[in-house]
């Protein structure tokens, strides 16, 4: 039979089997497992059937807790059911896992093993999550590679049906889940042969069925619970044997052989490493290398970790073994050792006790930790462990891969130990996310993998920014399956797709001697050489690199490709790498283009073809001079003026040297300084806004909408500007009585992402040329130096006095310093303008609970922090607990505020004799309703602190520790719709109902943005999202209406692009309302499929169409006898279609499923219209007789 091969990542490999062997998948998106659910949904959507000829049902739940509940229910009623998850998601499934295992229910959970949030969240891979489930009763089957992810998925499915023990099948997050490999697929008939129908029928026979009713899930008492718990033993005892038997059947049917523990290495090995997961591949590769050199080493790859079979484990080890290192990819602080280390010791101790130890002498066993959060695990590290095992007293409880200079656990290793094979072609590509480099490399892997006999591997590294993000692709091609589960260390080909990367990171450290170096350069060949930093020139010369240059953007522009240089750079790679004969390769590229873009139209195909042809004509081989000529060195990542911590720690991370930071450089409890994005000048945009002072009407709109706080406003006196640099722009204030003051609008050009939202927001047009506004995009390079100096001078100017700013005016509020700046959010982000506005209004007394999601990533991902500080060192204090608990987390803040304020008041009264009655009365009676009153209170607290400073009374000291609480705090709970509408809704509902004084900001993008566009309950009718490929059928949940039903919750629905003034009012009222407040903010998003420059227009269209009515519900008005609900938007003025069909999320359905689109449009329009008709009493003051047209929106009243 012809071998069936496929090119895929671990997620697809596992989902391939899961979808074929299940009837129901109940999931919830979480990185890095989300694609497994998405693949399943996609396959079911195109009617792919399982091995029994039926299409599996795929359901998205509101949380992993919900998903596991649904899995449990579906299993209990007899369906073959699976789920996919990771990390925190898996933790949420633990309660159901106990139930499912306790009830001996056959199922497989496929898990992309990922770190847990401890001192910090990490989306990357280790075994912390799966190992936290050891006690649930699930069997653990681990895959180490993409091929194994497919194979073990099937073995697990067969084994769970036979053993009745539920299985967790897991593989390493990202390293395996996202590594692309060429693998052998298991044909359907082989899957069919391994899954026994009689076991499926037996599973169904155990289901709840009113035809033969039973009861499961009793409550038991001390008399029988214990005995009941012990009933399962025989099933666990039998499981290793069953897995072994199925592995044998698998070998016979499929042809690949596995064991519970697979040993590789010298038969007479004396030093052995034991581990599971992807590290085992690198370890096996290293062991092969070392044994070929005569070293007596070996490695045991653990597949079945639970139930841990002592018999099979002992049998897997060579009798000659003298020392063993057990590696755990997790950390259990305070334990006697990590889990597998303890298991191995237990097995050895028990065997020795029983006299059954198969070795002459008890081996030395040490445990070590490695690879947390996808930390690289390389042959050099593996060799270091073997070297350690040679020592008479090897270090126990060691770490490898880091420098632990605090508790000295780490082993040292020699990074120059490389075992990359000459038979393997290795390539590294540096690209921008936006330029399509990763997509092109995935295509390259497909071409080589499918058109040749070569095996392929692709692994992609992304940075933590959502705008201007950099990608590094690591590709290998070789004649044998590739087991190098670590980044390419020495490449034959290095592609740098952005010239400026050469100034920021050491691109050529990856280049092997005589490698090919391809550079995308916008300069002429001569200029190109001159503009290279000296170090790069020297590397090219020293390593004797073959140097090629192309101006890919020029070719892209000429061929209609815009900024996508993917096809161009891919063509270059094939033209000069020699991986395939050039002409053949070009033909294959064109074939792939047809496949990839064919369904997007012939024009898209043709322009890509054109780009391929033009590339070949523009690719130049550069002569390399004998000596480096450049006087230009790579600049430091952060300027010398930055604080020491930023320079020495964060700067290292910024320049890709974070791996070199020792343990001592890290905070012990995950606490980091704020206000650090200001030091990370990313310079990611080639065009930036420039202010035209004479056209400007000084409205502040541009500053308001700037998602990255790059547009700043101040006023100054003429005297303030005496030292202004040449070219510093200012203009007289256009405000009565203020004409003598200067108005300044300054752009932080180095921090700008080039989104141009400011241009869209500007209402002023140049009188002579109406295409120009008061702010216009210009090329950055010519103005960079000048504007850098201008911005520095701007920062040195005094801030506007907060107490004199009218916070009801958009313009005035922009004089307030943003305390949220230069985040890593997408260019043109629709969320961050709201976040920034809140920071301007309340930042100096704000404490934020942030749900996991986009806002926690752009707000809290290292290396730098956008939450900033004012000149007094005050600013938002921020934390992220989890995704699901954010409302409760923030509620906890409010409880502290309430308690400490109360207690401070109590102590203050008790100390009245010491500090003075008047001061006490003033402090406790202060209203603090505006900036002026707050400033006065701050002044009183300063006096109070002075008075308390010398007071030795314990109560005085205690009061000092919480005295700041007497200045009004503003508690903010922020998150996206995935949190507020779905996973966190239960908590949010409870917190809103609590009556506590707190504020909730829902950044509503109507979809899970951070995890890649999955449907939430906020997703509107007709929108396409993952898990709603045919358009969402149900309506959008009306969170505002639900909250209003409590009557005592302040609720506002806002859209800055439609009505900035209303946005401003809502924030001010929410903060002022002495109870729970919730603002639901329309946030345009890249996941809407819009050109982000039109974000504000989309907000306006959403409001004008009636999809997003603006309102404020203020319970205080009720107390004043007024209607609490004020409608702030007019009756819909455009049809829904005129809004939604300007967004790809809706429009794509008209291309993919026009009938569904038409039906859902009618439904959506009806929803908007009906929502309007069922309304009344919405406006103030109510007219005596209401005409129907005026009452288009309101709650049932």
């Amino acid at each position: 039979m012809k071998k069936l091969t496929g090119i895929m990542d671990g997620n697809e490999a596992a989902a391939y089997v899961a979808h074929k062997t299940n009837e129901v998948c109940a999931i919830y998106p979480i990185t890095p497992s989300s694609p497994m659910g998405e693949f399943s949904d996609e396959w079911s959507a195109i009617s792919k059937k399982n091995i029994w000829g039926t299409i599996p049902l795929v359901a998205e739940l509101q949380s992993e807790g919900g998903a596991s509940g649904a899995v449990h229910g579906a299993l209990q009623t007899g369906a073959l059911t699976t789920t996919f998850t990771a990390s925190q998601g898996l933790l949420l499934m633990i309660p159901n896992m106990y139930k499912i295992a306790g009830e001996l229910t056959s199922t497989v959970f496929h898990v992309t093993a990922r770190s847990l949030a401890c001192q910090a969240l990490s989306i990357f891979g280790d075994h912390s999550d799966v190992l936290a489930c050891r006690a649930t009763g699930f069997a653990f089957l681990c895959s180490a590679s993409v091929q194994e992810a497919m194979d073990m998925a099937l073995i697990a499915q067969a084994a769970t049906l036979e053993s009745r023990v539920p299985f967790m099948h897991y593989f390493d997050g990202f390293r395996t889940s996202h590594e692309v490999q060429k693998i052998d697929l298991i044909p359907e008939e082989q899957i069919r042969a391994l899954i026994k129908d009689e076991l499926v029928i037996a599973h169904r026979a155990r289901a709840l069925n009113p035809e033969k009713p039973v009861l499961r899930g009793t409550a038991q008492n001390p008399d029988v619970y214990f005995q009941g718990r012990e009933t399962v033993n025989k099933f666990y005892d039998a499981t290793p044997g069953i897995v072994e038997k199925i592995m044998a059947e698998f070998a016979q049917t499929v042809g690949r052989t596995y064991h519970l523990f697979d040993y590789t290495g010298a038969p007479d090995a004396e030093r052995v490493i034991i581990l599971m997961g992807s590290g085992a591949e690198a370890a096996s590769e290293t062991v092969d290398y070392l044994t070929a050199k005569g070293e007596k080493v070996g490695v045991v790859r653990v597949h079945l970790f639970r139930p841990f079979s002592a018999k099979h484990f002992l049998a897997s080890l060579p009798k000659s073994v003298k020392s063993i290192a057990v590696l755990d990819r997790t950390k259990e602080p305070g334990s006697a050792g990590e889990p597998m280390y303890q298991d191995v010791l237990t097995v050895f101790a028990e065997a020795q006790q029983a006299g059954a130890l198969p070795f002459g002498k008890m081996p030395t066993v040490i445990g070590g930790r490695y690879g947390l959060s996808s930390k690289e695990f390389t042959p050099a590290m593996i060799k270091a462990i073997f070297d350690e095992l040679s020592k008479p007293q090897p270090k126990n409880h060691f770490t490898i891969g880091i420098n632990d200079d605090v508790t000295h656990t780490s082993l040292t290793y020699d990074n120059s130990f490389l075992i990359e094979s000459d038979k393997v072609n290795r390539a590294v590509f540096f690209g921008l996310g936006a330029d399509g480099t990763v997509g092109a490399n995935k295509n390259t892997i497909k071409i080589i993998g499918s058109e040749t006999d070569l095996y392929t591997q692709g692994y992609f590294v992304y940075d933590s920014k959502k705008s201007g993000s950099r990608t590094v692709s690591h590709l290998r091609f070789g004649p044998a399956p590739i087991r190098s589960t670590y980044l390419v260390q020495s490449a034959n080909f290095v592609g740098c797709h952005q010239f400026n990367f050469l100034e920021k990171t050491d691109v050529l450290k990856y280049a092997a001697p005589r490698a090919v170096f391809l550079l995308n350069s916008q300069y002429t060949p001569t200029e190109t050489w001159d503009r290279l930093p000296r170090k790069v020139q020297q590397q090219i010369i020293d390593k004797q690199l073959k140097f090629y240059v192309i101006d890919a953007y020029k070719v892209a522009e000429a061929t209609g490709m815009g900024s996508r240089i993917n096809t161009i750079m891919q063509t270059c790679f094939f033209a000069i790498s020699g991986v395939l004969p050039k002409d053949e390769a070009i033909e294959k590229i064109k074939g792939t283009i047809k496949k990839t873009y064919g369904k997007k139209g012939e024009d898209v195909v043709q322009k890509n073809y054109h780009a391929v042809d033009q590339t070949l004509a523009n690719l130049i081989e550069m002569p390399v001079p004998a000596a480096a000529t450049s006087q230009f060195e790579m600049p430091p990542a952060v300027p010398a003026a930055a604080p020491e911590y930023v320079r020495n720690v964060l700067g290292m991370i910024m320049s890709d040297q974070g791996d070199e930071l020792p343990v001592s450089a890290m905070p012990v409890d995950g606490t980091f300084p704020t206000a650090t994005t200001q030091w990370e000048k990313r310079n990611i945009s080639l065009t930036v806004p420039a202010w035209d002072a004479k056209t400007c009407i000084q409205c502040g709109n541009c500053a308001l909408v700037c998602p990255h706080a790059c547009i700043r406003m101040k006023t100054a006196t003429q005297a303030d500007l005496a030292q202004a640099p040449a070219g510093f722009a200012s203009t007289p204030m256009k405000m009565k009585g203020q004409e003598d003051k200067r108005y300044i609008l300054q752009v932080a050009v180095e921090d700008c992402t080039g989104c141009a939202l400011c241009i869209q927001a500007c209402p002023a047009k140049n009188k002579e040329q109406v295409s120009l506004k008061a702010i216009n995009m210009v090329e950055k390079d010519p103005i960079l130096e000048r504007e850098r100096a201008n911005y520095a001078f701007f920062l040195s100017l005094p801030e506007n006095d907060r107490t004199k700013v009218d916070t009801t005016l958009v313009r005035d509020v922009q004089y307030l310093q943003p305390l949220f700046e230069f985040s890593g959010a997408c260019a043109g982000c629709g969320e961050t303008p709201y976040v920034k506005l809140a920071s301007q209004l309340f930042g100096d007394r704000m404490i934020i609970a942030n749900a996991t999601g986009c806002s926690s990533i752009y707000g809290g991902n290292l290396p730098s922090t956008p939450w900033a500080q004012d000149k007094n060192g005050r600013g938002p204090a921020w934390s992220n607990s989890l995704f699901e608990d954010n409302a409760e987390f923030g509620y906890g803040y409010s409880l502290t505020v309430q308690k400490h304020r109360e207690h401070a008041g109590e102590m203050l009264k008790a100390l009245a004799g010491d500090v003075g009655e008047n001061l006490v009365t003033e402090i406790l009676g202060a209203t603090q309703n505006n900036e002026g009153e707050i400033a006065l209170q701050r002044a009183r607290i300063v006096i109070l602190k002075q008075k308390l400073a010398g007071n030795a009374k314990p109560q005085a000291k205690s009061l000092l520790s919480i005295v700041d609480m007497l200045v009004r705090r503003s508690v903010w709970i922020m998150g996206g719709d995935g949190w507020a509408y779905d996973i966190g809704y239960g908590g949010l509902d409870h917190v809103l109902a609590s009556g506590a004084n707190l504020n909730v900001l829902v950044l509503d993008t109507e979809v899970y943005s951070n995890t890649g566009g999955q449907m939430s309950k906020s997703t509107p009718t007709g929108a396409v999202a993952k898990f709603a490929a045919s358009g969402k059928r149900m309506g959008k949940k009306d969170l505002g209406m639900i909250a209003m039903s409590y009557g005592n919750v302040y609720v506002a629905k806002i859209a800055m692009g439609a009505n900035p003034r209303q946005t401003l009012r809502a924030f001010a009222e929410a903060d002022a309302y002495p109870g729970p407040s919730m603002i639901i903010a329309y946030s345009h998003c890249i996941a809407h499929g819009i050109d982000m420059v039109n974000g504000l227009r989309q907000q306006k269209l959403a409001v004008d169409s009636g999809h997003w009515p603006l309102f404020r519900y203020n319970p205080l008005l009720k107390e004043q006898g007024q209607n609490p609900l004020q409608l702030d938007s007019k009756k819909p003025s455009i049809a829904l279609k005129d809004y939604i069909y300007t967004e790809v999320r809706y429009k794509m359905l008209t291309h993919s499923n026009p009938e569904a689109a038409a039906m859902l449009l009618v439904q959506g329009q009806k929803f908007v219209t009906n929502a309007g008709r069922c309304t009344r009493n919405s406006r103030r003051p109510p007219p005596p007789r209401r005409r129907r047209s005026e009452a288009w929106f309101m709650v049932n009243g």
Partner: protein, 336 residues
Amino acid sequence: MNLKTKYMGLELKNPLVASAGPLSDSVENIQKLAAAGVSAVVMFSLFEEQLKAEANALDAQLAAGTDSFAESLSYFPPANDYKVGPEQYLELLHKASQAVDIPIIGSLNGISSAGWIEYARKMQDAGARGIELNIYYMPTDPSLSASAIEKQYIAVVAAVKAAVTIPVAVKLSPYFTSIANVARKLKRAGADALVLFNRFYQPDFDLNELAVAPTLELSHANEIRLPLRWIAILRSQMKMSLAATTGVQTSAELAKFLLAGADVVMTTSSLLHHGPAHATKLLAGLEEWMKTKEYTSVKQMKGAMSLKSVADPTAFERGNYIKIIEKYKAEYTLPV
């Protein structure tokens, strides 16, 4: 009363045809038009440029933000098939041609010669009984001469004619130096009919926003004069089908165009304004007028007032201009 007419080889039950416009955007509406009595429907125009732009925009926006950030490597589920080409148009054309027993004529606006040919062929395959080439083109390039533009028109017609077997009409703009000459060249290139004239939507200025504002106004009855004149002229010069369009609001315009020599009269504005059922009224009005004037067939009417047939042909030529000027002076100029 015999209302039958023949238009580019198609036998039609009456001379009222629904011209290219938004009413042909669904089978349901086309059925309504047929039920109201129109004798053929010209579908709304398929714009090649728009199809290309949409396909490129879809490609760009689906790719935006992908493969950039580890947690969100894509934002949309992959669709199995996107209908970004002419598929939806052709499907509608096909369904409409099955659903009604009057001819459906495809309307096409291309930008490339490949586009003109490919889409025309596909329309024929989908069931179109004729094709109307909607050559909507703003010649803003100063290096492009009038003759070069005319050559482009002729080349398009020749290419499409060579590609299809069904009749081909050309919807013309009135902005040719010599309309009659162009008409003759198009006829020689193979055009089976001319549709007079295309209405160009002229943008306006929004003084409040200082912006160019697109406008879309339905045509008025007084706009019939330009096509009326040219139909009357061309009818007397050449034997090819002529369709009149623009300004048909009542049966009066219908009658006028037929008298000038149109084989069919097209309208969208009045049907948009009053609904598809208005077609019934127009036809009834025409019959009523014919009865009054004792016409028994449309054939009898066609061209009865063409340049060749009117008592004073100068009314269509320069003489008319002089007459009007003189009349104006007489009526409106105050005696000194």
